[in-house]
């Protein structure tokens, strides 16, 4: 085999006549399409520039639709949330091996209503279950405050504590006393971050959330 054989062999490969014609035709068609596309695009943009009213109308129309849709979605969300409220959820407590060692109920802000009144040597906290027929609140026989803080008008912590005494739950209500050594100053705010619900034979369940209320005298 000689290199010249290679040259002659490769040079024998010729493009067939019909293929050549086809390529020429396709190239022409392709360039014509390109030119037509450019022409069409320039025409459309020119029309858009002259007839701004149509474009404007279309824009406004679609904006109106968007606003209406957004309003409808917001309304649905507000109605849904206000009807059902934001509900809490159970969360497992795991140890370092990943084994579940207990549980807590999180985000219960909307499921307990709290009010507080200051007495001479204590603060009386009234906790009302919004859904007393639902778990976990229907199981609770007694309730205590897990963690709380008392803030003065400037936001300074006057008192903080954990685990008050247990109070019985009756009809979804519980009145829990926070002992005080001296009367609470005026304008104080009570912030509770957890309740602990207990029932016979069950492990106490911590119900977490944030409840704020101004003390009434």
């Amino acid at each position: 085999m000689h290199e010249n054989d290679l040259k002659s062999a490769v040079e024998r490969i010729r493009m067939p006549e019909e293929m050549c014609t086809r390529i020429i035709r396709n190239c022409q068609a392709c360039l014509e399409n390109d030119a037509a596309a450019v022409h069409q695009a320039s025409k459309t943009s020119a029309q858009g520039g002259q007839g701004g009213i149509d474009m404007k109308k279309r824009t406004l129309h679609s904006k109106g639709k968007i606003i209406a849709a957004a309003a409808a979605v917001c309304l649905c969300l507000v109605m849904g949330v206000s009807a059902a409220g934001i509900r809490g959820y159970y969360k497992n407590i795991t140890n370092w091996t990943g084994a579940v060692t207990g549980g807590v109920y999180e985000q219960a802000n909307e499921e307990i209503q709290v009010s507080a009144s200051a007495a001479e040597r204590e603060i009386m906290v009234t906790a009302v279950f919004v859904y007393p027929q639902n778990a976990p609140f229907r199981e609770f026989e007694s309730l205590r405050i897990g963690a709380y803080q008392l803030l003065d008008a400037s936001g300074k912590v006057v008192l903080s504590g954990e685990r008050t005494d247990l109070s019985p739950v009756a009809d979804g209500n519980a009145e829990i006393a926070i002992p005080m050594e001296e009367p609470a100053p005026d304008g104080c705010k009570l912030v509770i971050t957890s309740f602990i619900g207990e029932s016979k034979g069950d492990q106490p369940l911590s119900v977490n959330g944030t409840w704020e209320c101004t003390l009434s005298h």
Binding site: D5, S8, C20, I23, N26, C27, Q28, A36
Partner: protein, 162 residues
């Protein structure tokens, strides 16, 4: 709708007739398939007419076409590797004489990097430094590929066709 001018049509015809066969040969050897070679050639010309590059001379123009065609062939080869096809077109269709077909078959069985160097050197008769510029490789790399490709081609031809 605007029409392509007669001058442009004539220009297309002239360019395709001048370089069509050369590009077809290159693409056919690279791809081993007439239909794919036609697609590659057509795409090369379309790119050429769309971009309308400015060339210093006809050699520059030819080198641009070869480089573009080679890149397209490489893309097609990569595509084929990812999407295997059922069969290749028979070589006899493009190369009628049996001994030539054997050389072509041997050539086409070589890896792509050797094939392109052999074609550009022996068929298109480009000097090594120009091939190096076209392939973005050093002259010594091109020389090595040429030498190795030649050996491989000879070996293949001797083993399978003699």
């Amino acid at each position: 709708m605007p029409n392509t001018s007669a001058q442009t049509a004539e220009n297309i015809r002239e360019t395709v007739l001048s370089y069509g066969s050369m590009l077809y040969r290159l693409c056919f050897v690279m791809l081993g398939n007439g239909a794919d070679a036609e697609d590659a050639v057509q795409e090369t010309f379309i790119r050429y007419f769309r971009k309308s590059p400015v060339f210093a001379d006809t050699d520059h123009e030819k080198a641009w076409l070869i480089t573009t065609a080679r890149n397209l062939c490489r893309d097609m080869i990569r595509f084929r590797a990812r999407h295997p096809q059922v069969s290749l077109e028979d070589l006899q269709e493009a190369a009628p004489s049996p001994p030539d077909t054997c050389i072509l078959e041997a050539l086409m069985s070589l890896p792509e990097k050797f094939r392109i160097v052999l074609i550009l050197y022996y068929v298109e008769e480009y000097p090594i430094d120009q091939i190096a510029r076209m392939l973005h490789r050093s002259s010594s790399a091109v020389k090595m590929r040429l030498q190795k490709g030649r050996l491989m081609l000879r070996e293949k031809y001797r083993k399978e066709y003699m």
